[in-house]
């Protein structure tokens, strides 16, 4: 089942109390070539995380034996393994909290296998890429961003971005595929004193979409995670 023979196959820990959900998460991740370790409780999950040195943790926030937020905090104390959170819709606060304490992405229940695999793949890719050969050029759609020269072009033509727009774009590009909470982006782009000015963020994301997206009302790359934040998806 492990197709990446030779190379060590990535280890994923699935912390979820519902057996059937664990089962399909397991099969779909194994098809991605992962070795999956299941944990039915947070305590077991924490234990396995210590033993197995995972490359990804899939965590259900609503576990009966404790608070998933605390789990993320504990784990973050000694590991920066990517964490993918599973949570119900209408629990935006939980998601934001999870992301703010260090989770990398979330999936809203119910979710399809395709979605799960795509998210897991993105997180594993980011994990394995690490510092190695990061290229200063990011391309999406007909836009090319040269981070070393601070140049943005669209169809080969230079685009003018204001300093804030550029910083915002960089903050999103630096965390490709990852959900950035509004608070996080505001702190990165405007500074720690502006974490309450959400409307600025929204207006500037709108500016970026006007300049970079084909149809700003139906963006393909600069995606809104309603109630939570934004995500750059190439």
């Amino acid at each position: 089942m492990n197709e990446r023979v030779g190379d060590h196959s990535p280890v994923v820990i699935v912390v979820e109390d519902e057996k059937l959900i664990r089962r399909f998460v397991r099969t779909s991740l194994e098809e991605e070539g992962c070795r999956v370790v299941e944990a039915g409780t947070l305590a077991q999950g924490l234990l396995e995380s210590g033993n197995q040195k995972p490359d990804l943790v899939v965590l259900d926030l609503g576990l009966p034996d404790g608070n998933g937020i605390d789990f993320i905090r504990d784990l973050r104390a000694w590991s920066d393994v990517p964490i993918l959170v599973l949570s119900a819709r209408s629990h935006e606060k939980d998601k934001i909290q999870a992301l703010d304490v260090g989770a990398d992405d979330y999936l809203t229940k119910p979710f399809g296998v395709g979605e799960l695999r795509a998210r897991a793949r993105a997180l594993l890719r980011r994990q394995s890429r690490g510092g190695e050969g990061a290229t200063p050029i990011v391309e999406f759609g007909d836009v090319q961003v040269d981070l070393s020269r601070r140049v943005v072009t669209r169809n080969g033509e230079a685009l003018h971005l204001t300093p804030i727009e550029y910083r915002l774009l960089c903050a999103l590009l630096a965390n490709t595929g990852k959900v950035m909470t509004q608070r996080h982006l505001l702190r990165d782009v405007w500074g720690p004193s502006s974490v309450e000015s959400n409307h600025y963020l929204r207006v500037y994301v709108g500016h970026l979409r006007q300049k970079l997206e084909d149809d700003p009302t139906q963006p393909k790359y600069l995606l809104t995670e309603t109630g939570v934040g934004y995500r750059f998806q190439p």
Binding site: F24, T27, P110, R202
Partner: protein, 522 residues
């Protein structure tokens, strides 16, 4: 309860038995004469005078000023008649006795007045002490009162027995109008509502002496508590005499503030209890909702995921099994959507939802809801037509996203495959108006308002699935935002649901300061 019967007795004793006191004075003088007559042989007239003076003094001390005066004149008369020669006549031969009479009279009057004054003071301070004690006891009783009615009753009892007055406590209702505190037979006392309102609103006491005789309350004292004025107490003298009541103003105000503190204490007890009940019931409600939603979502998540993993399993299933797996997945996704709608509705109805309103452009939620529906919209291209320079609007993005999802889902469901859906937004008056329209058959005639009720569907028995919750949720969400929602058919055919959101006063976005020689611009 209070020892006030004594007080009343005492004050009436000096007026009620006045004829008795005068007869006593007369008797005492006569007695002195009778005692002195046989002593005339042994005593000087000067000493006889002393006996009379003593009598006057004793009368003054024990019976008060008026009997003392009477006895002074009487003594002079008796002394003159029975003892001064010539005896048994009022004639006086020796002019010296005129001096004796004058002195005797003067001494009698002065001592009478002095002792009567002393007595009055002693009486008054006794009364004062009793009234203060009554006030103290009222304060004690008020601190034990558990209901406003008790406060009113205790206050009235105090006023009735100590100040001989009747009273009604007026308390404000939620609109600020004053009503007599229920549970007392207060109807007797007429209230002049304007005075009560003035006393309540200004916090000063109002008195109107003229009203006292017509059965109206003459004094309106605000119940000033530490936090605010809690009500008004209207006081009327029982006998129509306001002078005494006005002289007791300080005591009345003390009483009013005691009552006010009691009323305020009861108010806060009430507030605390209500808050506690509310907290408990809200906690219960939200824990039931989250338990139900967890219990429903968990199997649905497993169902969707397991069915979906079948469709992509390796080796691939046969065509029929593949189709079945996909159908199971689609149906369970729809079921999950319905359960989500039901839970949303329950939450909205339970008042569980607090709006997380933020200022934002409407286009953002339009984009995210189109993205969210994804596969559901493949057969229906969405055209978004937004007016230029739409202002920011304050709304809860997650909930308004639900509105768009429900409207888009409906539009896709009720219009033929391949037909487009249009979203259009523009400013209309002081609202932002958003319309979602399709090219389907439109709504049936005469159904518009009912569409937004729960479990009502456009077509009674249609093959199109759904339970008719979508529009009801949209309407609940939009109403919570202070907007309105309406359904209509377009002239060119197709259904159109439009809703408004109030515009308000969006925050100002400061323009970026761009330094011409600043950062190298991309």
């Amino acid at each position: 309860m209070w020892d006030l019967q004594k007080l009343t007795d005492r004050s009436s004793s000096s007026s009620l038995a006045s004829w008795k006191r005068f007869s006593l004075a007369v008797l005492a003088c006569t007695g002195t004469t009778l005692v002195a007559t046989p002593l005339l042989a042994y005593l000087d007239l000067a000493n006889i005078v002393m006996l009379f003076l003593l009598t006057v003094l004793l009368i003054a001390v024990s019976l008060g000023l008026a009997p003392a005066l009477l006895s002074a004149f009487l003594s002079v008369g008796l002394f003159d008649f029975f003892f001064v020669p010539p005896r048994f006549s009022f004639e006086v031969h020796d002019g010296q006795y005129l001096v004796t009479f004058t002195v005797m009279l003067a001494v009698a009057i002065i001592t009478g007045q002095l002792t009567a004054g002393l007595r009055r003071h002693a009486d008054e301070s006794d009364t004062e002490a009793l009234r203060s004690r009554a006030l103290y006891e009222m304060a004690r009783d008020l601190s034990g009162a558990l209901m406003v009615e008790q406060v009113a009753e205790i206050t009235r009892k105090f006023l009735r027995s100590v100040l001989n007055a009747d009273a009604t406590i007026l308390l404000p209702d939620s609109t600020g109008a004053l009503h007599p505190c229920s549970g007392q037979d207060a109807a007797r006392l007429q209230i002049e509502p304007r005075f009560a309102i003035i006393a309540f609103e200004r916090g000063t006491s109002i008195d109107c002496v003229q009203l006292a005789n017509s059965g109206y309350a003459a004094l309106y004292l605000p119940l000033k508590a530490p936090m605010r004025v809690r009500g008004v107490i209207a006081v009327a003298p029982m006998d129509g005499q306001t002078d005494f009541l006005l002289s007791q103003r300080e005591r009345l105000e003390t009483m009013a503030s005691l009552a006010a503190i009691a009323v305020e204490r009861l108010h806060y007890i009430d507030v605390a209890q209500r808050t506690q009940v509310q907290v408990v019931s809200e906690r219960l409600r939200s824990s039931i909702l989250s338990a139900v939603s967890h219990d429903l979502r968990t199997p649905l998540t497993a169902l969707v995921g397991l069915a979906d993993s079948l469709t992509v399993s390796k080796p691939p299933l046969g065509a029929v099994a593949q189709e079945t797996a996909a159908a199971i997945r689609d149906q369970s996704e729809r079921l999950a959507g319905l359960v989500g709608n039901l839970l949303d509705m329950a939450r909205l109805h339970a008042g569980e939802v607090t709006l997380q309103k933020e200022w934002q452009p409407i286009e953002e939620v339009i984009g995210s809801s189109i993205k969210l529906l994804g596969r559901g919209l493949v057969e229906h291209p969405v055209k978004v037509a937004l007016a230029k320079d739409l202002p920011l609007v304050e709304f809860d993005a997650v909930l308004v996203e639900r509105v768009f999802c429900n409207l888009l889902e409906n539009a896709a469901k009720y219009s033929p495959p391949g037909s487009g859906i249009e979203i259009d937004a523009h400013v209309k008056g002081d609202t932002l108006e958003v319309a979602v329209s399709d090219s389907g058959p439109g709504f049936g005639p005469g159904k518009s308002p009912a569409l937004f009720e729960m479990f009502v569907r456009g077509e009674a028995e249609s093959a199109t699935p759904g339970v008719g919750l979508g529009l009801a949720i949209c309407s609940a969400i939009i109403e919570a935002h202070g907007g309105s929602i309406a359904a209509a058919n377009r002239l060119q055919g197709g259904a159109c649901v439009s809703f408004t959101l109030p515009l308000g006063d969006p925050p100002i976005i400061e323009e970026e300061i761009l330094h011409p020689d600043g950062e190298r611009q991309p």
